[in-house]
């Protein structure tokens, strides 16, 4: 039983890493364990342009921290070709319970807000 839970409620796009849209997926890794891909299916992503909101609603459990990395999937399923957008590490004891939003930017143009609900 994990000590902490957080729900990634939604992700908002304010800017993309490339012209048009990013094909966004998340890799979520709790306590350096086996990463979870969201959306789960391979070759599945969430296309996002500036102004778009993605209702993720995924709860993640962890003991010490969970690292959420945003990726832009390019061309086909091959992470070697993916573009790193940004990441946020939710570490135990660093955030208060309840709702919050963190903005992430990258010099490649990516500008995203990650909204969460820290449950425990």
């Amino acid at each position: 039983m994990s000590k902490h839970s957080i729900t990634i409620t939604n992700i908002q796009c304010h800017g993309t890493s490339e012209s048009g849209h990013d094909e966004v997926y998340l890799i979520c890794q709790s306590d350096a364990g086996l990463p979870i891909r969201i959306p789960a299916g391979i070759n599945v992503n969430h296309p996002m342009s500036s102004g778009d909101t993605w209702a993720v609603n995924q709860t993640l459990n962890y003991d010490y921290e969970v690292l959420v990395t945003l990726w832009d999937e390019d061309l086909s399923y091959d992470p070697n070709l993916a573009t790193y957008l940004q990441s946020i590490d939710f570490a135990a004891g660093t955030l208060g319970l309840g709702l919050g939003t963190i903005q992430l930017t990258n010099r490649n143009g990516a500008n995203y807000s990650v909204s969460y609900n820290l449950l425990s």
């Binding site: 350096a32 086996l34 921290e65 992470p79 070697n80 573009t83």
Partner: protein
């Protein structure tokens, strides 16, 4: 037990998390006489190979190999004396299959259990002489042993070796494929009743009895250039202590001739063991002087962690080192952040390179699960 192979299979296992558990594909399959003959010879060759000194050492060799070592072993098996008659059969004209494969089945427990077939496929029939390919097929399993070799698989496929990748659905064939030997019919996908191929499996221990299995095949190398490449692991088995590389601070970039920014990534290795982990696992973070990258990558370790920072140089397809950090447990205090400076000065002339990393020790003496 082979921890290294489990870690290297972990990025391929990410795909199984969206898998389903059964769709009821047809289990009846008609196998042509030429295919039966190939399978019969493959089984015979395998039995002969198993009695050779090399064959007897296979399990022990696999249990201490990394992924690359397993792949080299597999492609070498077909070159052994025992398989020469099979190779002659595979070179015959008019075979009703596009490729033949040999693979080793390995089970790994990565919180979820996975079964992986690490294989090698060659073109036959109309595809004779076409590029061979190396592949990894992963599926969900009730994982039993960590990195354990559980069997060998032979396959005859409709497609060319470089075209075996993607989703497929394997269903255990009614009555087996060859006598009592377990066999599977592999369909191209959940909504596709076209048969991709048939396989037979020789289990080394008790069979695990999977009736139906969604699976995904990665073509990780082929001479035709149509490959998914090697995937890098992010999963790390637990050790006693846990730290987070909270951030990387760029005080001054390295001049690399392609703009003001450095394309930054790092790798790390705990306790001088195993292979390097990368973050970001692929790609990089662009940084200029004054930037702080809140990367947040965590690391399990016992006594020390070596972190190497690089500037990815897309022009030369090479990377320049820009930081070298050695972290000892004794340097850290629980729940406080410490800044580390590079132990190597990468500055050259007027080109001052200065990066630091900020590290927090978040847990000590953690029982390994």
């Amino acid at each position: 037990m082979n921890n290294q192979i489990s870690v290297e299979l972990s990025p391929y296992a990410e795909v199984v998390q969206g898998f389903k558990k059964g769709t009821g594909k047809p289990k009846k399959v008609e196998i042509s006489e030429s295919k039966k003959k190939i399978f019969e010879e493959a089984v015979k060759a395998w039995k002969e190979y198993s009695t050779t000194p090399e064959g007897k050492m296979l399990e022990a060799d696999i249990n201490k190999s990394d992924l690359n070592g397993v792949q080299q072993k597999i492609s070498g098996i077909l070159d052994s004396e025992a398989f020469q008659l099979l190779k002659k059969l595979l070179e015959e004209e008019g075979l009703d299959a596009g490729s033949f494969s040999i693979g080793l089945n390995i089970e790994a427990e990565l919180i979820i259990g996975i079964t992986a077939t690490i294989g090698f496929a060659i073109g036959i029939g109309d595809n004779k002489g076409l590029a061979s390919s190396e592949f990894i097929t992963v599926g969900l399993d009730e994982g039993i042993d960590e990195g354990a070799l559980v069997g060998v698989q032979f396959g005859l496929w409709a497609n060319a070796p470089s075209d075996l990748g993607g989703y497929a659905w394997a269903t255990e064939a009614d009555g087996g494929i060859l006598g009592e030997l377990a066999g599977k019919v592999v369909y191209k996908g959940e909504d596709d009743d076209d048969i991709l191929g048939v396989t037979i499996e020789i289990a080394f221990g008790e069979e695990d009895g999977i009736d139906e299995q969604e699976c995904y095949t990665f073509i990780i190398g082929s001479q035709s250039g149509n490959d998914d490449g090697f995937l890098k692991p992010a999963y790390q088995p637990r050790k006693s202590n846990f730290l987070i590389i909270k951030s990387v601070t760029c005080n001054n970039t390295q001049s690399d001739g392609i703009g003001n920014a450095n394309e930054v990534y790092f790798n790390f290795q705990a306790d001088g063991e195993g292979k390097n982990y990368y973050y970001p696992t692929y790609d990089y973070m662009s940084m200029q002087g004054g930037d702080v990258w809140h990367c947040g990558r965590s690391v399990w370790f016992n006594s020390s962690v070596q972190v190497n920072l690089f500037d990815s140089d897309s022009v030369g397809n090479d990377s320049d080192p820009i930081g070298n950090f050695t972290i000892h447990l004794s340097d850290l205090t629980l729940n406080s952040i410490k800044t580390f400076s590079s132990t190597i000065n990468y500055s050259s002339g007027l080109d001052t390179v200065d990066y630091t990393i900020q590290v927090e020790l978040v847990a000590i003496n953690v029982p390994t699960k």
